[in-house]
Point group: C2
DNA sequence: TGATTGATGTTATGTTATTACGTCTCAGCC
DNA sequence: GGCTGAGACGTAATAACATAACATCAATCA
């Protein structure tokens, strides 16, 4: 299985890390946010891997790179990036992944392949959202939604046969 | 979708625990499953509380009742109940809650009030499911879905004013 | 200058979950 | 009866995930 899928397709990975970091940098400057070295490096790590990483995986990499070696170092950077939409947490995996569609405000849905561990981020249509409908009928006001599905990705389905 | 999710309304709780346990008992006998004392007691505990409980909360109660005191005791019972649809795990809370609509196969959606901690289980319409649509367009085969929303429940919205 | 804020680091601890292994029971079979 | 395999339950030990509390430093600003 491809160790490098975005969504479930192959792609040229060589430039997208730098581009995404650059975009985040610009976005932070505009918003008055500090994309500090640890934070930037954390984002790079997630982009390079292009898959969901646990906080301790990230921490190990940061530590190798000369940053602090204690859990709060990773958790704080991940919190910042998550809070500002550059990274998402996959609740089902207790893991983090770089946003595949940064910039726009969105409610992502994740498709998690239990065979190859790939994670794809799909966009949802807010107006037709299942949860929005439920919220409307029940009078519940949603602030954040978690949409995750486990299953088998197209690649793994194909190779099963 | 269920227009009347259990969770945000008061209701007479006195009989529903016994009824639900009875139903589970019957269902297990029919399916050739063993609803053993620990498993039954675990289900009772979750039904009595009628809210999401952590595995260690459940464990403490089981231990008080003379069952084992080590984590696997709770996790194994919860795994059994979850696997067979009597209990759901709320990923966002790392907690477990008794199913509000047992018996039918379903993909529940949870509404989690961050103000009062109430959790409501709403039914979803599989055919119109957001994730089902995504799966169709991407070729991903879903085996399990996690649908959870955090926000404010109708009761808390009302008392905010 | 002194106060405030926000970022980073550390130590220590808390919370959630699993692995590994021994025992018991019961059903199926000789 | 005695053997065997499967499944349930118990324990000890450990792994994996996450936060609290506190010290330091730099930038900002009255
Ligand atoms: Zn995203
Ligand atoms: Zn796959
Ligand atoms: Zn349910
Ligand atoms: Zn509430």
């Amino acid at each position: 299985m491809d160790p490098n899928p975005i969504g479930f397709q192959h792609h040229d990975h060589s430039h997208c890390v730098a581009d995404a970091v650059e975009a985040a940098d610009r976005s932070c400057r505009e918003a008055g946010l500090q994309l500090t070295p640890v934070r930037k490096r954390t984002l790079e790590i997630l982009l390079e891997e292009h898959r969901a990483l646990g906080a301790y995986d990230v921490l190990a990499r940061l530590s190798e790179d000369g940053f602090g070696s204690q859990p709060p170092v990773a958790y704080r950077a991940l919190d910042f990036l998550t809070k500002h939409g550059f990274v998402h947490k996959i609740e089902k995996l207790n893991a983090f992944i770089a946003c595949a569609h940064p910039g726009e405000l969105h409610t992502p849905a994740f498709l998690i392949c239990t065979s190859c561990q790939a994670v794809a981020e799909a966009e949802t249509d807010p107006s037709h959202s299942l949860l929005a409908n439920i919220a409307e009928t029940t009078g519940f006001r949603i602030s954040r939604a978690v949409l995750e599905a486990e299953g088998t990705c197209p690649n793994c389905l194909a190779s099963e046969k």
